[in-house]
Symmetry: C2
Subunit: 328 residues, 2 copies
C-alpha cells in the first residue's frame, strides 16, 4: 500500500464524526498507543460526544452477556439505530476469547455498516477502567452511534467503573451459578438499573427471580420519583438464536430508563459523574507519564531499586524525595 500523507487532527475528527470506519480505527490506534496526537484528537472530538445512549452490561463469564448483546444489536438495528459495542471483557466472544463458532456468529455483525464492534482485549482491562477504554467509548459516541454498549466482566472494580461510563447499567445473572447469592452479598446489585436473569428456562429460575425481586424491593432506598430497578427474565443462550424470550421487554426497559433519565433531568448528574471519572483517568495517566519519563530519563530508577534492596532507603522515602522534586 502506498504511503500517504496522514490526516491532520481536524480532518480525522471530521471523518470520525461522519462515521468513516477507517478514520475511527486510526483514531483508536492513536489513543491506544498513548500518543500526543491521540490527546490532540480527543480534545477536538470532545464537542461531539455525549449524545448516544450508553448501556453498560456486566456479569460473570458464562452468564450469556455476549449472546444477550448479540440479540440487543439485532433489535436496535431493526429500529434503524446505529450500534457500537466496546468489549472490555477479555473472555468475551467479541474479544476473540471464545469458541470459534460464537466468534464467527458475533463477527457477522461486522459486515453491517450500522454496527461497530471494538474489543479492548486485555489492554482495556489493566485494572478497572483504563483511560484508553474511556477514550474509545467517547470515539464511539462521536462517530454518530445511537447506542453504545459497553461489556465488562463484572469482577471487582470494573463493575463499579461501568456505572459512571454507562447511563443505564445492566447486571446479568443466571440461575444455579451462585452469582445471585454472591451479587446480593457483595452489593453488586446496587449498581444495576436493570437486572437480567438470563437462562431463565433453567431449573430453579422462578425461585431465584422471586428472591431477586424481594431483595430489590427490600434494598430500594430511593423515594417517589426515583428509578426503581427491575428484574427481567431472558432466554438468550447461544443455542436459541431464534427462540429468544424477553429481549423485546429488555429493550423496552432500557429505553424506559433512558426516558426516565431525560424526563427527570437525572441525565445531567449522570453526565457530570462521567466527566469527573474521565478527569481522574486522564490525570492518572498523564501524571504517570510525567513522573516515569522523568525517572527513566535520568536512569535513576535502577539506582533507587538498588539502594532499597541494599537497605539504604525504602520505597516510601524514595517516592517522597522524587515527588518533592517534581511538585515543589
Amino acid at each position: 500500500m502506498a504511503k500517504r500523507r496522514s490526516d491532520t487532527p481536524e480532518e480525522l475528527v471530521r471523518k470520525v464524526v461522519a462515521g468513516d470506519r477507517r478514520a475511527v480505527a486510526r483514531s483508536i490506534t492513536l489513543v491506544e498507543n498513548q500518543t500526543e496526537e491521540g490527546t490532540e484528537l480527543m480534545k477536538r472530538l470532545y464537542p461531539h460526544v455525549g449524545k448516544p445512549m450508553v448501556v453498560g452490561i456486566t456479569g460473570s463469564g458464562g452468564s450469556g452477556k455476549s449472546s444477550l448483546i448479540d440479540h440487543l444489536i439485532r433489535k436496535f438495528r431493526k429500529k434503524g439505530q446505529r450500534v457500537a459495542v466496546v468489549a472490555v471483557d477479555p473472555s468475551s466472544p467479541f474479544s476473540g476469547g471464545a469458541l470459534l463458532g460464537d466468534r464467527i456468529r458475533f463477527q457477522n455483525h461486522a459486515l453491517d455498516e450500522g454496527v461497530y464492534i471494538r474489543s479492548m482485549g486485555s489492554r482495556g482491562y489493566l485494572g478497572g477502567l483504563s483511560r484508553t477504554t474511556s477514550d474509545v467509548v467517547r470515539i464511539m459516541e462521536a462517530m454518530g452511534n445511537d447506542v453504545v454498549i459497553v461489556e465488562t466482566l463484572g469482577a471487582g472494580q470494573d463493575e463499579v467503573d461501568i456505572i459512571n461510563v454507562a447511563q443505564t447499567c445492566l447486571l446479568v445473572l443466571t440461575p444455579g451459578m451462585g452469582d445471585d447469592i454472591q451479587a446480593m452479598k457483595a452489593g453488586i446489585m446496587e449498581i444495576a438499573d436493570l437486572i437480567v436473569l438470563n437462562k431463565a428456562d433453567l431449573e430453579g429460575a422462578t425461585a431465584i427471580l422471586r428472591t431477586l425481586e424481594a431483595t430489590l424491593a427490600f434494598g430500594f432506598k430511593g423515594g417517589e420519583g426515583d428509578w426503581r430497578p427491575r428484574v427481567l427474565p431472558t432466554v438468550a443462550s447461544a443455542a436459541k438464536a431464534d427462540g429468544i424470550q424477553g429481549v423485546d421487554e429488555l429493550v423496552d426497559a432500557i429505553e424506559a430508563h433512558h426516558a426516565f433519565l431525560h424526563d427527570t433531568q437525572a441525565i445531567q448528574q449522570v453526565q457530570a459523574n462521567r466527566v469527573e471519572q474521565e478527569l481522574g483517568l486522564i490525570f492518572k495517566d498523564q501524571l504517570e507519564k510525567y513522573i516515569f519519563k522523568g525517572l527513566k530519563g535520568t536512569g535513576k530508577k535502577r539506582e533507587y531499586v538498588r539502594a532499597i534492596l541494599d537497605g539504604k532507603t525504602d520505597p516510601y522515602s524514595v517516592v517522597e524525595e522524587v515527588l518533592g522534586e517534581f511538585l515543589k
Copy 2:
C-alpha cells in the same frame, strides 16, 4: 474499653516484628485508611521485610484455590512454619464471600497462633494490585511468617501483578471448566512457576494433564539452568478434607522452586522486580493524593466539570492546565 495512649510508630513496629496480632491488625488499619501514620509505619517496617517465602496462587472462582490453600496451611504448620494468607479474591472463602460451611472451616485456622489470615475484600481489588494490598503483604513479611500466601482471582491484571509480589507463582486450573483452553490462549501460563491441575479425579483430567504438559514443553523458552514449569495434579476439594492427593508433592515443588531461586541467585531479580512494582504503586497513590487534595481544596473540581459539560473546555485540556500548575 478504656481509651489508651496509642503506640508510637517505633513501638508498633517492635510489636509487629514480635508477631503481636493486635499490633498487626492496627497496622493494617493505618495502611488501609491511607494515613500519614501508615506511611511512617511502613518506612520503619521496611528493614524487616523480604525474608519469608511468598507464594502467589491464582485461578478462577471454583477452581478450588481456597481448599488448596487450606491444605497448604496444614502442611506448612506440620513443619512448624508460620503462615500468613492475604486473600485478594473478593469471592474467596477467606474473604467471607463463600458458603457458610467453607467459611467456618477456613476460619478454624484463626484459632492457630501460627496462622494469620487477612482478606482484602473488594478493597484490595481496586483494579489490579493496590498499594494497600502490597503494604499488607509487607506487614505479613515483617511479622515473622515463614510463608506468605497471596490468593487472587486470576482475571486480568491481577494475575500479572501477582508475579511481582510472589516469588513462586501457582496457577490453579481444573478439568472441564474450559480454563485450560482459555489459559493457553491468553498466555496466562507464562506467568506460572507451577501449574496445579486441581480436581484431577474428574473425567478427562488425564487428557488435559497431557495437553498442559505438552503446551508447557512447547512453550518453554528458557535454556539450561532456567526453571522449568511443571504441572501437578491435585485433588483438594472441600469434600475430601482427609482424602487429599498431590498436596505433599505440591509443597515439595514449591520448596524446590524456592531453593532454585536462592541457589541461582535469581531471587535478587525477583526482589528487584517487587521493589520496582512497589515504587510504582506508591507513586501513583501519593500523586493522586497530592493532585486531588489540591483540586478539592480549591473547590475547583466542580467548576471544571461544569465548564466541560457546558462545552467550554474538555477534560484533556483541564488536566494539562492543572498539571502545568503543579509541575512547573
